[in-house]
């Protein structure tokens, strides 16, 4: 059903461990992924957006752990707590590919170079459907055709290196969509592609959302993509959700200084070369030596001593708009 919450993430904390140190990569993150909607998770590199996606899929690196919080998936058989399932157990495996599809950043490295596109698509069908070999073959070709790949029967037998970047990503999407998952998680699916191809891939994702009611969680660092595709936005910074809400609310009246700074640093087409871009001052802090309170405080123009007292609570600015800032309610118009 359209708008129904399929994946509910609440107070998720995922920590990465390396060299005896702990990086609180995802620290108290909550959001919903809804059927027929696109949720964009935005933030710069290292903000924890990919770790959040990997937590949902339980595809975390070995030295990462979901510490607390919940990830609930509404499956056909009822609600499932994904965070409680064993990582590579039967239950989790049967959800991956069948209910939860994932697209990765670089299709060149994410596809296995020694197997044909068709083989890699048929693999999911083999484990999640009862189709026989000839039916799988036909279905793989049909999927490629659906994704707008010309000569699908021929392409199906080709290897990833024989395809262009855009074709590869379409093949990747065909693979993720093979069993018609209810949720599609796309981790920066167009970062490795050029702009025209990017538009084609997004068109395809929009179509899947519209025609099949797929819930899409799109991870990106590009505010332009957010404006284009998102229904809802989650802005992340250093492992926290700093602002979330409907795309209209967040982009029109950004309440967190970081969101405002992000929007202020993007050049707008049509404003000419005289427009002033405001880079965000400073740089992201060392994840192993974090600021005591608000993670953005050291770079924030609005910073006060109170910001360092502790992580600010989430404030509801309006029914569809939450912000983690002490000054969220004031100065929403000024910069």
């Amino acid at each position: 059903m359209e708008g129904e919450t399929l994946v509910r993430v609440r107070n998720l904390r995922t920590y990465l461990y390396a060299n005896g140190r702990c990086n609180k990569a995802v620290n108290d993150v909550s959001f919903d992924v809804r059927a027929g909607r696109t949720l964009c998770v935005v933030g710069e590199s290292g903000c924890g957006k990919s770790v959040t996606a990997a937590s949902i899929m339980q595809l975390l690196p070995p030295l990462a752990r979901i510490e607390s919080g919940e990830i609930a998936y509404r499956s056909a058989e009822g609600e499932l707590r994904l965070d409680r399932l064993p990582r590579n157990g039967r239950a989790m495996r049967s959800l991956r590919g069948r209910d939860l599809g994932m697209i990765f950043q670089d299709p060149m490295t994410a596809l296995n170079p020694v197997y044909s596109i068709g083989f890699q698509i048929r693999e999911s069908l083999r484990y999640h459907t009862r189709l026989g070999a000839p039916a799988r073959r036909a279905k793989a070709i049909e999927l490629l055709a659906d994704m707008g790949i010309p000569l699908p029967a021929q392409r199906s037998g080709e290897y990833p290196h024989q395809l262009s970047g855009g074709m590869r990503q379409r093949a990747m999407i065909a693979m993720a969509m093979a069993c018609e998952p209810k949720v599609l998680i796309a981790d920066e699916p167009t970062t490795a592609l050029d702009v025209t191809v990017q538009a084609q891939v997004f068109d395809l994702m929009e179509r899947l959302k519209r025609e099949r009611g797929t819930a899409i969680m799109l991870i990106t660092h590009d505010m332009g993509v957010v404006a284009e595709l998102a229904d809802e936005v989650v802005v992340m910074y250093m492992g926290n959700v700093v602002e979330s809400g409907t795309v209209r609310e967040v982009l029109k009246s950004p309440a967190h200084p970081y969101t405002r700074a992000l929007l202020g640093s993007i050049p707008l087409l049509g404003r000419g070369r005289s427009q002033r871009l405001e880079p965000i001052r400073g740089s992201t802090p060392d994840p192993f030596d974090r600021p005591p309170g608000c993670q953005f405080a050291p770079r924030c123009p609005r910073q006060e001593p109170a910001c360092d007292a502790g992580l600010p609570p989430e404030v509801e600015v309006s029914a569809a708009h939450r912000v983690r800032c002490l000054f969220a309610k004031e100065g929403r118009d000024g910069r």
């Binding site: 899929m57 595809l59 590579n88 989790m92 495996r93 049967s94 959800l95 991956r96 590919g97 069948r98 599809g101 994932m102 990765f104 670089d106 490295t109 994410a110 596809l111 296995n112 170079p113 020694v114 197997y115 044909s116 693999e123 999911s124 484990y127 999640h128 290897y159 290196h161 990747m172 693979m175 993720a176």
Partner: protein
């Protein structure tokens, strides 16, 4: 493909010419000649110059270096590999007698080391940092550093003399000739040679597998919900296979040379011991023929490696 094979085949000729010439030159530059070996130091001292000269002439050693090289080369092109300078037996017969034994031993050892090395390397990589991996690393280190002769002698002592499970050496009992009768003789030398070659394959397979395990496509495979065993074997190991095949391919020439040490210890009637004697005795027709076979094996192996790489990795084109 056909054009490629043809081109590789044509490239063979100049390579062979160059390699055989260098080996011939090497023999020429070694002090002494076959006569000094055949006659022995005492006889040499008692023979006068004309007798030695006559002996040299009868063996054709009095001709200039280039003349001898081309005479040998001409013979080879006509299919005549010459005669052993020490025994007068045709080289072709010596090789026909000895080569099968060496091929049998080396092929068995290669098979053992390939299967064992790949399996252990795979197990090691999948258990990285755990007890099994560490144990195999130590075992590999020991395997590389213990000399084969020591390993061979210890295993003869244990399995042949103490336990009496297997024969001490030799290739067959004279009254039996079937493969089944030969097998007990083959087991020990093949295992000793195979196991001593395993360490290298294992370490290489481990590194190659670890490399594959870290690749992005492994995560993609998991994201499709495939079972771990399929992810590791069908995606990981298959991708790790090409480099392992290269290593094994380049060991193929060993099929010809064999292992001199192992053949000696197990009194295996192969090419290795014969080759050693021929080099010592400056028996150049025999040395040259075995060298020729080795060069051919090296070139054939590199061709096979190319074919295998192209078959295992669709990104590689034969050109």
């Amino acid at each position: 493909m056909i054009a490629y094979t043809l081109r590789r085949f044509l490239a063979l000729a100049p390579m062979m010419l160059l390699m055989t010439f260098l080996v011939f030159l090497g023999l020429e530059l070694t002090p002494g000649d076959a006569v000094s070996f055949i006659a022995g130091p005492e006889a040499m001292a008692n023979m006068d110059g004309s007798q030695l000269a006559a002996l040299r002439e009868s063996l054709g050693l009095d001709d200039p270096f280039l003349a001898r090289y081309f005479r040998w080369l001409g013979g080879v092109l006509r299919g005549d590999f010459g005669y052993s300078l020490t025994s007068g037996v045709p080289i072709a017969r010596i090789v026909a007698e000895r080569l099968p034994a060496t091929l049998e031993l080396s092929a068995a050892a290669l098979l053992v080391s390939t299967l064992l090395g790949s399996a252990l390397g795979l197990a090691s990589a999948l258990n990285r940092g755990k007890a099994l991996d560490q144990a195999l690393t130590v075992a590999g280190m020991i395997g590389v550093s213990v000399p084969e002769f020591f390993f061979g002698l210890v295993s003869i002592l244990v399995f042949s003399i103490e336990l009496k499970w297997l024969p001490v050496g030799g290739r067959t009992r004279p009254e039996y000739l079937g493969l089944w009768d030969r097998l007990p003789h083959l087991v020990l030398p093949a295992l000793v040679l195979g196991v001593s070659m395993t360490a290298g394959v294992m370490r290489y397979a481990r590194a190659s597998m670890l490399d594959a395990l870290g690749k992005d496509f492994m995560r993609t495979a998991r994201s499709k919900g495939l079972p771990e065993a399929r992810v590791d074997l069908v995606h990981g190991f298959r991708a790790a296979l090409a480099p392992i095949a290269v290593l094994i391919g380049f060991r193929l020439p060993m099929l010809i040379g064999g292992s001199v040490v192992i053949e000696q210890i197990f009194q295996w009637p192969g090419v290795g011991s014969e080759f050693l004697a021929a080099v010592r005795g400056q028996n150049y027709p025999l040395v040259m023929t075995i060298a020729l076979l080795s060069v051919l094996a090296v070139l054939a192996a590199s061709f096979l490696v190319d074919l295998a790489t192209a078959a295992l990795d669709p990104r590689v084109k034969l050109s």
